[in-house]
């Protein structure tokens, strides 16, 4: 079923005839465009692509992508994706979720799809708020977020989606944000990772949580506040004048100045996407004292769930003939004849 030759499509081919119904100015538009721009570059086939989502503004996404789409129920998209992929491993499965959908009600399914390592791309649009239900705080909202349910500010400590994903056993972790030019590259890396690829995309909810990511996402001064990671490259930012090094005493990361581009001297770490310890530090690296870690934080594939399930199914079925009549007649049987029953 999978196309043998890559399919040629254009952005237009991935647009549906449905009116897009997000608020004007919502970050979701930019993500949609980034995805629709990236899919042709990946040679993806609309007929072979499925977008699965839960419920939320973000989860309206499938309606706008001209592919197969399933807008399911709140928090459960990973479970639907699992059924779809196990039923047909040939399909390209993209899972779109929000910080409420994927981290609040759906946290458990997010955990298990990562643990099992189902081959799919998980795009978690993190706007740190419940958009669709009109702006209540979410598990990723920063402490003190005022919202209809927290008029005096939220008191819960926020969850970090990437830290959570790593703790759940994810083998691919990346970050981007709605209007970033780099987003397509992040999406491509996720697509090329065989297994569950977890991508946190910061997304501006202009109505209920406007510009909370401006600290690092605003174009002005972005260089100083964004650390774009690239495998094999030193962790440099601020136009190469600063970098991330390891404080070997405290075993934490630190920001160092890089003089005259000599990052080796400054001890700047070369990013190794397969290093799990570094990944742990990067996902927990606090923004403020540090820049925001973006791009592919971790990428170290393992065999996928659906491949293992298929392999086991084949092993189990090997040499066995699916004969229903024989199956029904299995076990302790006896025959009743005119003369009575016998074994």
């Amino acid at each position: 079923m999978n196309a043998i030759t890559p399919i040629t499509t254009t952005l237009k081919d991935w647009e549906t005839d449905q009116e897009v119904r997000w608020c004007p100015g919502c970050g979701d538009y930019a993500i949609l465009k980034a995805v629709q721009r990236t899919l042709p570059e990946l040679g993806a086939d609309p007929a072979n692509t499925v977008f699965v989502s839960g419920i939320g503004c973000s989860s309206r996404f499938p309606y706008y992508v001209e592919s197969y789409g399933f807008h399911t129920i709140h928090g459960r998209a990973p479970a639907f994706a699992t059924g779809i992929k196990l039923a047909n491993p040939q399909l390209d499965v993209w899972l779109v979720t929000g910080d409420g959908d994927g981290m609040s009600i759906g946290g458990n399914h997010t955990m298990h799809v990562l643990r099992r390592n189902l081959d799919c791309q998980i795009l978690l649009f993190n706007n740190e708020i419940y958009g669709l239900t009109k702006g209540q705080y979410s598990p990723t909202s920063r402490q003190g977020t005022t919202s209809p349910t927290t008029p005096l500010g939220s008191v819960d400590r926020p969850a970090s989606p990437c830290a959570f994903a790593l703790g759940a056993g994810a083998r691919f972790i990346a970050r981007g944000f709605d209007v970033s030019k780099e987003l397509p590259n992040v999406l491509k890396a996720a697509y090329h990772h065989k297994g569950a690829a977890f991508v946190e995309i910061f997304q501006n909810c202009i109505v209920y949580n406007k510009d909370v990511f401006n600290d690092f996402a605003a174009p002005k001064g972005a260089e100083d506040r964004q650390l774009w990671l690239a495998n094999g490259e030193p962790m440099l930012f601020a136009k190469g004048t600063q970098g991330i090094a390891l404080d070997t005493e405290k075993l934490t990361l630190k920001v160092v100045d890089v003089i005259d581009g000599d990052w080796q001297a400054a001890g700047v770490i070369v990013h190794d996407v397969t290093n799990r310890s570094i990944a742990h530090m990067l996902v927990e690296m606090p923004f403020g004292p540090f820049p925001m870690a973006l791009g592919v934080l971790y990428d170290d594939p393992r065999p996928t769930f659906e491949a293992a399930v298929m392999a086991e199914r084949e092993k189990a079925a090997a040499g066995k003939e699916p004969n229903l009549a024989k199956l029904l007649a299995k076990g302790q049987t006896w025959t009743v004849t005119e003369g009575g029953p016998e074994l």
Binding site: Y63, F70, I73, A87, N88, P322, L327
Partner: protein, 622 residues
């Protein structure tokens, strides 16, 4: 019909056509195995039978305790058997706890076989006996055959040099041997079975065979209290053919496999362990060669969602659970209703509410099945009356699901799941196929209409991966034909009506309701569903034998119901509905047909006895 055995005072003039034996012992005593083999032996003797295993709730309760008793009851005879029997004629009690918890059910005058070797001070204490009941006369209304089975077993296996513990494990075979003698059974098949079972350990095989033979010989030679005698129950007249025993759980698994094959579909089964539903999953994991994918999900919600996902992707999605787990699936069932995807949901009901009585049986999830969802979300409900019927019902559920693009609920219960009965192995060539066609191209000229309905009100099934048919579905109200989001009043009205009409219309594809015993009209109809079949059937039979005007109607299709059912019921003066709940099906009957259906309820976690229903019939006709 069960009758009294070996009771000198028995007033019954009927020849013993059936006997009820209950084996009871410690969980570690192998009573389920003993019962299973005795069952096979009954089958080979040509008897009809029904069994009822009764496990403790604990995994492995401490030895000798009251709550650690495991029992297995079999009703077998030379006549048609529908229930595991009301009260046992014979109770085999392997220890004091087994005696204590089971003797109450024994018929007056019934026979107790007890292993005195286990009636030690410590075991008596554990069973909360101050004095041994074997000695204080408290068992006077029964016949007691007490002897040291433990010692006799040890003696019989001595030559094999087993350790004491291992040697005592052969007690169940000794007991089985005695039972075989009592009912004039052939030992050979059992000996073959033991040799096969212990093929890798000759010593154990020999020891068990020796114990079996010793038990048999004991019956043959010992003076068993004088009045216990060898009893032969002849074969029941049975159509020739291949037979096997089947439990309800296995029957559901096989029926689902058959259903998927008849639909020409691979099957995806999403489950999460829960008693007593797990055994269906356990059975299906071993059938991968039939195109079955099983998925043990992280919870029941994920299990059903994955199954819906698989259906969306073109397989037959199935999920299974018991009450509390089904409760968790309600929201997702609504999505299956809205997206109109096929799905089979099996509920092996147990005692409720809440965690309730996981190892006991009940029929109290009917409300949940018929009504338990938000919104107007009609779902067809099919219910199985017995282990073998569960096979057919599973196929029927698959048929409805794929032909009508709808979730279907299949109700069984803990009793059906665990009970075994003889089953004439059907020939798949006789099954009616219902192959599925996926939409291959646009269905309205240049346009794809994913919600265009056919004459039955069914929308097309469109498999992702099909070129040119890309479309989006979801849980928000769908526009007529296009399936786009649509919140408009007229559209919601139209689609609610269409969903209802589609499910109501399923009635056209199901057979008219028959009267399984009696006449289509009269004084009283006893209307049942599910596993109450056996006791109702027997009770109605007995009442009719006594000349009462009563009929038995057993409903498989709980929703929608057969088209003639309303009329049929109106032909009776009274309608009695025995249910193992507080009266749930009677609500559906009263609502749909405005008949004065009266409930006969039982919520003790135990099946109805024939006598209970007989009494109610008599009461209703009095």
């Amino acid at each position: 019909m069960a009758t009294q055995l070996a009771d000198p005072e028995a007033k019954s003039t009927v020849a013993p056509e059936a006997v009820v034996v209950r084996f009871a012992g410690d969980s570690g005593d192998g009573m389920q195995l003993t019962g299973g083999q005795f069952t096979l032996s009954s089958a080979l003797a040509g008897n009809d039978f029904a069994t009822f295993p009764d496990f403790p709730a604990e995994i492995r309760a401490p030895q000798g305790t009251l709550f650690g008793v495991s029992a297995f009851q079999i009703n077998f005879g030379s006549t048609s058997i529908d229930t595991a029997g009301d009260a046992p004629d014979v109770l085999v009690a392997m220890n004091p706890a087994a005696l204590k918890t089971n003797v109450g059910a024994l018929k007056p005058g019934g026979l107790i076989i007890a292993d005195t070797g286990e009636f030690t001070k410590r075991n008596l204490e554990k069973a909360k006996y101050d004095v041994s009941p074997l000695e204080d006369g408290s068992l006077a209304k029964w016949q007691v055959l007490a002897f040291d089975i433990s010692a006799l077993t040890l003696e019989s296996v001595k030559p094999f040099g087993l350790g004491n513990k291992e040697a005592l494990r052969c007690k169940n075979m000794w007991t089985l041997g005695l039972a075989l003698w009592m009912f004039d059974r052939d030992r050979a098949p059992l000996i073959d079975w033991l040799n096969a079972k212990f093929a890798k350990n000759k010593v154990l095989a020999d020891a068990n065979v020796a114990a079996l033979n010793a038990g048999h010989a004991y019956g043959e030679t010992a003076e068993l209290g004088g009045h216990v005698k060898k009893l032969h129950l002849g074969p029941v007249p049975t159509p020739a053919g291949l037979y096997r025993t089947i439990t309800g759980a296995d029957a559901v698994a096989l029926g689902l496999v058959a259903g998927a094959q008849l639909a020409h579909l691979p099957m995806f089964f999403g489950g999460y362990p829960i008693t007593p539903a797990s055994s269906i999953l356990h059975a299906l994991v071993r059938l991968k060669e039939f195109g079955v994918t099983t998925f043990q999900a992280e919870d029941e919600i994920a299990a059903i969602c994955a199954a819906i996902g698989a259906s969306y992707a073109g397989q037959l999605g199935v999920t299974s659970s018991s009450g509390p787990g089904i409760a968790l699936k309600g929201e997702a069932m609504g999505l299956a209703v809205m997206t109109e995807l096929p799905l089979v949901i099996v509920n092996s009901q147990r005692g409720g509410p809440s965690t309730g009585l996981p190892t006991k049986t009940e029929q109290s999830d009917l409300y949940q099945a018929v009504y338990g969802r938000n919104g107007d979300a009609p779902i067809p409900v099919v219910s199985a009356r017995s282990p073998s019927d569960a096979f057919e019902c599973a196929i029927e559920a698959c048929r409805i699901a794929v032909q009508y693009m709808t979730p279907v609920i299949l109700l069984t219960d803990g009793y059906i799941a665990n009970a075994a009965e003889p089953w004439q192995v059907p020939d798949p060539a006789t099954f009616k196929e219902f192959p599925v066609t996926f939409l291959a191209e646009k269905n309205a000229g240049d346009t794809l209409l994913p919600y265009k309905r056919d004459g039955k009100g069914t929308r097309p099934w469109i498999k992702p991966g099909t070129p040119g048919l890309m479309h989006r579905i979801g849980g928000i109200e769908k526009a007529v034909d296009t399936g786009h989001l649509d919140y408009s009043p007229a559209n919601h009205q139209a689609q609610t009506d269409a969903r209802k009409a589609k499910v109501d219309g399923i009635a056209q594809s199901i057979p008219d309701q028959d009267v399984c015993l009696g006449a289509p009209g009269g004084k009283l109809a006893v209307v049942g569903w599910g596993s109450t079949y056996g006791p109702i059937h027997q009770a109605v039979g007995r009442a009719r034998a006594k000349g009462m005007d009563v009929s038995h109607i057993h409903v498989r299709h709980i929703w929608p119901m057969p088209q003639n059912l309303g009329e049929l019921l109106k032909g009776y003066d009274k309608v009695l509905v025995p249910e193992m709940n507080t009266g749930q099906f009677k609500t559906v009957l009263r609502d749909q047909f405005l008949v004065d259906a009266r409930p006969l309820t039982k919520t003790s976690g135990q099946p109805f006895t024939i006598a209970e229903i007989e009494a109610a019939i008599e009461g209703a006709l009095a």
